[in-house]
Amino acid sequence: MASTANKGSRAPGRTALSGKTKQTIATPDGGRVGLAITELSHLGKINLRGGDDILPAVKKHTGCSNLPENNRTVQIGERTLIWLAPDEFLVLCEAGEEAGLHSQLMLDLGKVHAAVTNVTDALCALSLRGQALRKVLAKGCALDLHPSVFTAGMCAQTILSHAAVTLVAVSDDQFTLICRTSFAAYVHDWLMDAGLEYGVSFKG
């Protein structure tokens, strides 16, 4: 594992999309950028499985007082708890903190029936912002993404143009998209293409 708990000594390292060109393709009329894609490089991700008895340990390290309900997220500061399934959650934490958080959760869960897995490098997180965000995603996703339905704080695991993704609505015009590292290049290329008509930019 490349990451360590010590943020200061952490080597920058490659990411799933570090080979992709940073570019901005604005619309010809008016030069708008409807979708801005940013890779959340090295964002810590920990898969957590367990029943209600994992709450004390989760509360200690994320600050959330309740586990998220179905299709919901709980965000406290830099840490986000994403509901994935009954008894399964994804914890997002600061880049470089994941190994430390992983071992702390393991310690605090003790004999609780639970599984903690560091999936930081298995998944790639993208931040998507912009007015055209939901229109672009709707091209490849059957989920109802209307702002009145898929509201801020909701999440969904679904399929975006054949690729399995987790969508997290941070706000009306900002999503976090999490996909497998091996699908990241494809998802990036698809988003750049689908967003072309609205203007699109990618910053590594």
Binding site: N70, N71, A85, P86, A142, L143, A156, T158, I159, A164
Partner: protein, 123 residues
């Protein structure tokens, strides 16, 4: 395309799911007492009805959890979605469960842990 209501995630399109085929096929516990033909009922034979069918489905691209579904294979109407380990509660689902040829097989009788199931098999 079906719109399937996942018991955990809510309504999602069919392509997110995978179908696991016929539901309520219990594994015989005392398989050594069954003939090969009787064991084949459990292992190989699957129902393919025109009408109400009880199936297992998995929300493969979502929460990855299994559930049961009572679906009409003619109209594609989804009559009921119910948890694994349960039997259907709707009238049509109950009827489909009770009427299945599988209920009368020696393999299913041998899947019940009660001692009477052993005496039923006869030989």
């Amino acid at each position: 395309m079906l719109l399937i209501t996942c018991p955990h995630c809510g309504p999602r399109e069919e392509s997110e799911f995978s179908c696991g085929g016929e539901a309520h096929i219990a594994r015989p516990l005392a398989e050594n007492n069954l003939t090969d033909a009787e064991f084949a009922d459990y292992l190989f034979l699957r129902d393919n009805p025109k009408g109400m069918f009880l199936e297992r489905w998995r929300h493969a691209a979502g929460c990855r959890r299994w559930f049961n579904m009572a679906r009409d294979t003619v109209t594609h109407e989804i009559v009921e979605i119910y948890p694994m380990g349960n039997t259907p509660k709707s009238k049509a689902g109950k009827a489909a469960h009770a009427d299945s040829w599988r209920r009368d097989t020696a393999a299913e009788a041998a899947a019940k842990p009660a001692s009477k199931s052993r005496s039923k098999q006869g030989g």
